[in-house]
C-alpha cells in the first residue's frame, strides 16, 4: 500500500469514493429513514402499517381477482378476490348509460371534439388559436346536436343519457356556461355601483352558502313552478340550469381573485388612454385576470366534476347511479366494493391528471410574473 502511494506525485491522487455508509442507498436510507431514534421508530411503524395494508389489497385486487365469470356465484366459486368480471360486463353501461348501442359513435365523437376544443382554451401557444377559439365557442352547440340528435341524426331522449357521459355533460356544460355569468358577477362585485355590488354579493354568498344537493332538489321538485304556465323543462335541463348557477358563484370568486391580482395601474393606464369601462375590461383587465385565474377555474371544474355524482340523489343515472343500479341486479348482487373501487379509480385518474395540469400551469404563470 505504501508502495502504491509513492507512485503519485503530490496533488495528483485521484478522488476516492466516499466510505461505505456515506454513499448510495445506505446514505439515502440513513438520511431519510433512520436519521434519529424517533425517525427510526416512525419508519418501522410505517413499514408495519404498509405490511398490514398492502398485501391484502394486492391479493384482493390482483392475485385473487376473477376476470371472467358470468355471475357472482361463479366468481365466488373461483376465488374470494375481486370480481372484475362484473365491471367489464357493465362497462358500456357505466360509460354510456342507456344511450342506444348503435349511436355510441356520437358520444365518442363529441368527446374527441371536446378534447380538441379544449386545446386553444388551455394552451396559449398553439398556431391558429384565434380560429380555434371560435370553434371552442361553437362546440357546445355542435355537441348538443350530436348527443340529442335531430336534423338527420336519430333523436335520443335525455332520459337515456347516463354513466360517465352524463357526468361529463353536466360538468362541462356547468363550467362552460357559468364562465360568462361568473365573470359578470365578479365584475359586479368589484363595481362602484352599490346596488349592482350588493346584488352580486347576495347571489354569490347565497350560492356558496347552500349545499348543491338542496339546489338539485329545487331543480327536481320546484323549478317547474317558476316557469310560465304550460312550459315544462325536462329534468336534465333543470339540473343543468341549477349546476350552472351553482358553478357561477364559485367561478365568480375565482375571477375576483384574478381581478384583484391585477395592479391598479393597469386600470388607471386604460383610463388615461380614454378607454371606456367595457373597453378597458375587455382589452386590458380581463385578458390578464382570466389568464391568472385559469388554475382556479380548473380546480373549480375538478370540484364540480366530482359533485356531478350528486345527481344520482335526484334520480339521474350518472356513473355512480348506474353502478348502484347494477348492484341491485340479482346475478351480481353484493359486489359493491368492486363497483365503488373502480368508479373511484376512474375519478382519481380524471381529477388527478387535471390537478397536475393546474399545478403545472400555476408554476408557469408564476414564472411569468416573477422578476
Amino acid at each position: 500500500m505504501s508502495e502504491a502511494m509513492q507512485n503519485y506525485v503530490p496533488g495528483t491522487h485521484p478522488d476516492m469514493p466516499p466510505p461505505v455508509g456515506q454513499r448510495g442507498v445506505a446514505l439515502w436510507m440513513r438520511k431519510n429513514l433512520f436519521s434519529s431514534w424517533i425517525n427510526t421508530f416512525f419508519t418501522l411503524l410505517a413499514i408495519y402499517f404498509l405490511y398490514l395494508i398492502i398485501p391484502p389489497i394486492l391479493n384482493w385486487a390482483v392475485f385473487d381477482a376473477v376476470l371472467e365469470a358470468s355471475s357472482r356465484q361463479e366468481c365466488r366459486a373461483i376465488s374470494s378476490g375481486a370480481c372484475w368480471a362484473f365491471i367489464s360486463e357493465r362497462l358500456n353501461n357505466l360509460v354510456y348509460g342507456r344511450y342506444p348501442n348503435t349511436e355510441y359513435w356520437r358520444v365518442n365523437l363529441a368527446f374527441v371534439m371536446m378534447l380538441i376544443a379544449l386545446v386553444p382554451v388551455l394552451f396559449d401557444n398553439v398556431p391558429g388559436r384565434k380560429y380555434g377559439l371560435i370553434y371552442s365557442c361553437a362546440y357546445p352547440f355542435i355537441a348538443a346536436w350530436l348527443l340529442l340528435g335531430g336534423f338527420g341524426l336519430m333523436p335520443v331522449d335525455t332520459d337515456e343519457f347516463g354513466g360517465m357521459m352524463l357526468n361529463t355533460v353536466v360538468g362541462v356544460t356547468g363550467i362552460a356556461f357559468s364562465l360568462p355569468i361568473g365573470i359578470l358577477l365578479a365584475l359586479g362585485r368589484q363595481s362602484h355601483l352599490p346596488i349592482v355590488k350588493s346584488l352580486s354579493v347576495c347571489f354569490i354568498e347565497f350560492i356558496r352558502g347552500v349545499p348543491l344537493i338542496t339546489l338539485l332538489f329545487v331543480a327536481s321538485t320546484m323549478l317547474n313552478y317558476f316557469l310560465p304556465p304550460g312550459v315544462q323543462f325536462d329534468l336534465l335541463l333543470r339540473v343543468l340550469i341549477m349546476v350552472t348557477l351553482f358553478a357561477s358563484g364559485y367561478i365568480a370568486e375565482v375571477v375576483r381573485g384574478g381581478l384583484q391580482a391585477i395592479p391598479k395601474g393597469q386600470k388607471e393606464a386604460a383610463d388615461s388612454m380614454g378607454l371606456k369601462y367595457w373597453q378597458a375590461m375587455r382589452l386590458i383587465i380581463l385578458p390578464q385576470a382570466l389568464k391568472i385565474s385559469i388554475p382556479g377555474i380548473v380546480n373549480t371544474f375538478i370540484g364540480l366534476f366530482k359533485d356531478t355524482t350528486l345527481v344520482l340523489i335526484i334520480g339521474l343515472l350518472d356513473v355512480l347511479g348506474m353502478g348502484r343500479l347494477s348492484l341491485s341486479d340479482s346475478t351480481w348482487n353484493g359486489l359493491s366494493n368492486e363497483m365503488y373501487v373502480s368508479i373511484a379509480c376512474f375519478f382519481f385518474i380524471a381529477c388527478f391528471s387535471m390537478s397536475r395540469y393546474s399545478i403545472y400551469l400555476e408554476g408557469k404563470l408564476d414564472k411569468g410574473y416573477k422578476r
Binding site: 416512525f42 349592482v196 366530482k306
Partner: protein, 401 residues
C-alpha cells in the same frame, strides 16, 4: 326666446347626452335599470309560481309543520316518536346534521394536522404515505367515499348474532348494525365531580393570568400546561373516586337477534362521519402543509439566535404565524364539510335534508315550503361559521405599526 323646434330637439338630446356623460347620473340610471330588471324577474317567477300552484290546487302555508309526521327516525338526540310533528322531526334532523358536522370538524382537523405534518416530515415513508393518501382521497367524490365506507361497514362487519366474539373487553361490540358501547347514566352525586371540573378550569384560567404577570415582571416561567392538566383532570378524578363512582354503566348484552341496552352508534352515522372526516382531512392536510411552508426559514434561525428552545420556537414563533395563513382556507373547509353532510340522504342518515326536505316533502307535497326551510337553515349555519371565523381571524391578525 324664439327657439325653433329643431333647436329644441337638439337641446333635449344634448341634455340627455349630458346626463349620460355625467358619471353620477349614469350610475344612478344604470342601477335603476338593474334593480327594475331584477325586481321584474322576481315578480315574474313569483306570479308564475302562484298561477302554477293554484292550477294544481296547492296553497302556500306552513300549517303542515304542526301535523303529525308519522315516520320514524333511526337516530334521535331528543325524544321523538312517529306521532310527533313535522317541526319536531325537522329539529331532530337539524340536530343530526349538527352532530355529524361537529364530530366531523373535530376528527378532520386532528387527522388533517397529522397528515400535514407527516407531509412535511423528512422521513421518506411517512411523507409518501401521506402524499398518496391525500391525493387519492381528495380526487374521489365525497359521495363515493360515503357509499364505499357504508358498504364496507354493512358488508364486512359481522351480524349482531355472531358479533359476540369480536369485541373489546366484552364492552364494545362491532356489528353491521352499528357499534354497541356502554351507556353512562349519572347518579345525583355526580354534580360534585362536575363542580370540581369547573373549579379546576377556573383555577387554570386564573393561574395562567397570574403566571403571565409573574413572567412579565421577573421572567420566571411556570409549567402552566401541566399544572392546568392536573387541576382539570386530577381534581375531578379524586372527587369522583371519593364520592363513590357516581356513574352507572349500562353495558350492552348480546341478545338473540340484537344487543340489549347500552348505546349504539348507527352505521349510517359512522360511515358519514368517517367519509366526511377523511375527505376533508385530505384538504386540511394540504392547507396545513402550505401554511407551515409559508413561514420563512429565517424565523427559525432568528428564534434560535435569540436562544429560544426548539419546542418554544414552534409554539411561540412558527405556529402563530402559520395559523394566520391556515385559518381562512380552514374555514371554508369546515363550511364544505357542513354542506357535504347533506349527502347523508344517500345512505339513509336522517339529517335535515332527509327529514324535512325528504320524507316530510314527499308526505305533504309542500315542495316550496320545505325547500325554503332547508335552504334558510343551511344559510344560517354557513353565515354563523363564517362570522365566527372572521372574528377569530381578526383576533389573530398581524398587528402592524
Amino acid at each position: 326666446m324664439n327657439t325653433t323646434a329643431a333647436e329644441h330637439g337638439l337641446d333635449d338630446r344634448s341634455s340627455l347626452a349630458k346626463l349620460w356623460t355625467n358619471r353620477e347620473a349614469r350610475s344612478v340610471i344604470l342601477q335603476m335599470i338593474t334593480i327594475t330588471l331584477v325586481i321584474g324577474f322576481i315578480a315574474y317567477i313569483i306570479s308564475n309560481a302562484i298561477t302554477n300552484l293554484a292550477e294544481v290546487g296547492k296553497t302556500f302555508s306552513y300549517d303542515f309543520l304542526g301535523e303529525p309526521a308519522s315516520y320514524d327516525i333511526n337516530q334521535t338526540l331528543i325524544d321523538y316518536t312517529s306521532r310527533d310533528t313535522h317541526l319536531r322531526a325537522g329539529i331532530v334532523g337539524l340536530l343530526n346534521t349538527l352532530l355529524v358536522a361537529i364530530c366531523g370538524i373535530i376528527l378532520s382537523t386532528i387527522l388533517g394536522f397529522i397528515l400535514g405534518v407527516m407531509r412535511l416530515s423528512p422521513n421518506f415513508l411517512l411523507n409518501r404515505i401521506s402524499y398518496v393518501f391525500i391525493e387519492f382521497t381528495r380526487n374521489v367524490p365525497v359521495l363515493l367515499h360515503i357509499l364505499l365506507i357504508h358498504g364496507l361497514i354493512v358488508h364486512s362487519l359481522p351480524h349482531p348474532r355472531v358479533a359476540k366474539d369480536e369485541n373489546v373487553l366484552n364492552l364494545i361490540f362491532f356489528t353491521n348494525r352499528g357499534i354497541y358501547a356502554p351507556k353512562p347514566s349519572f347518579e345525583p352525586l355526580f354534580w360534585a365531580t362536575a363542580i370540581a371540573f369547573i373549579a379546576g378550569l377556573g383555577f387554570t384560567l386564573w393561574f395562567r393570568a397570574y403566571a403571565k404577570k409573574i413572567q412579565d415582571a421577573t421572567g420566571k416561567i411556570y409549567p402552566v400546561f401541566w399544572i392546568g392538566v392536573c387541576a382539570m383532570l386530577l381534581l375531578p378524578v379524586i372527587v369522583y373516586l371519593v364520592t363513590g363512582l357516581p356513574i352507572q354503566w349500562d353495558v350492552p348484552e348480546p341478545g338473540r337477534f340484537n344487543f340489549r341496552g347500552g348505546m349504539v352508534v348507527i352505521p349510517e352515522f359512522l360511515a358519514l362521519w368517517l367519509a366526511l372526516s377523511l375527505y376533508t382531512a385530505a384538504f386540511i392536510g394540504e392547507i396545513v402543509r402550505s401554511g407551515i411552508n409559508a413561514v420563512s426559514h429565517g424565523q427559525w434561525e432568528a428564534a434560535s439566535a435569540l436562544g429560544i428552545r426548539r419546542n418554544r420556537t414552534l409554539s411561540l414563533v412558527i405556529i402563530p404565524q402559520a395559523l394566520r395563513v391556515i385559518v381562512p382556507p380552514l374555514t371554508s373547509q369546515y363550511l364544505n364539510l357542513t354542506k357535504n353532510s347533506s349527502l347523508a340522504i344517500a345512505i339513509g342518515y336522517m339529517d335535515l335534508v332527509a327529514t324535512i326536505g325528504g320524507i316530510s316533502l314527499m308526505q305533504t307535497g309542500k315542495e316550496m315550503e320545505t325547500m325554503i326551510i332547508v335552504i334558510a337553515v343551511y344559510l344560517c349555519i354557513s353565515l354563523m361559521i363564517s362570522a365566527f371565523m372572521n372574528w377569530y381571524n381578526k383576533r389573530i391578525k398581524l398587528v402592524e405599526r
